[in-house]
Amino acid sequence: MAMLHIVNKSPFERVAFKSCLDHALAGDSILMIEDAAVGATDGTIFSEELKAAMADKSVYVLGGDLAARGVSEDRMIDGIKVVDYAGFVNLTVENDTTQSWV
């Protein structure tokens, strides 16, 4: 049963994102929305932790939320996929369950 983990909190501000990574299993997907989008940036105090998770999990970011916070896509960690809301919906369909790390 693959799970979509939806995280909406900045990894620099709250423990929710870290907690999400600590509980996601291989094969799961993680979608960053709202303030969590800043977590897609490479070269941060959080980026190595997210890269490690990407070894066996897929990571997505909602493009609109990334752009709103002034982070251009060329600053992202390689391998993170940018989705729009249609892509968000598809992720909830493709995975068996969703969990929001609010």
């Binding site: 049963m1 799970m3 423990v15 929710a16 907690s19 600590d22 509980h23 996601a24 299993l25 799961d28 369950t97 969703t98 969990q99 929001s100 790390w101 609010v102």
Partner: protein, 134 residues
């Protein structure tokens, strides 16, 4: 109606925000729907079930006793993450003794709380159909 596995993920301390209380209100209603219900206490959520909470000084209702009633509704799968306790200097002894009576075992009183590792918690979460988080 179909039976689904419902997981209530509790990650926030009580009283500072309403989430713990309003999550508990959902759990109590859910009991009437005869679904498969589990509760997880992770991160600051472990403070929701500490014993000897006293709200005299903050003017709010102490709702912690309600967790003790969950066993009466056959809600007895309560998972608490050991790493979350450890990080906060807490142990199982700091938690309320939540119990249920096993109808199939001459109504023997049994503990509802299972202290699990983070790895076990991840597996428990993965086995659910619906994840409520507040």
């Amino acid at each position: 109606m179909a039976t689904k596995k419902f997981m209530y993920v509790n990650r926030k301390a009580p009283y500072g925000t309403v989430y713990a209380l309003e999550a508990l209100e959902v759990v109590l209603i859910a009991a009437a729907f005869e679904q498969d219900i589990s509760l997880a206490f992770i991160d600051d959520g472990v403070y929701q079930i500490t014993k000897e909470q006293s709200t005299d000084g903050i003017g709010m209702k102490n709702f912690s006793a309600t967790y003790k009633a969950l066993g009466d509704y056959d809600i007895n799968k309560i998972y608490v993450e050991k790493e979350s306790l450890d990080d906060r200097g807490l142990t199982a002894d700091d938690l309320m003794p939540l119990v249920w009576e096993d109808e199939d075992d001459d109504w023997a009183e049994k503990p509802s709380i299972k202290i699990v590792s983070r790895e076990e918690m991840a597996a428990v979460l993965a086995a659910q159909d619906v994840h409520y988080s507040f």
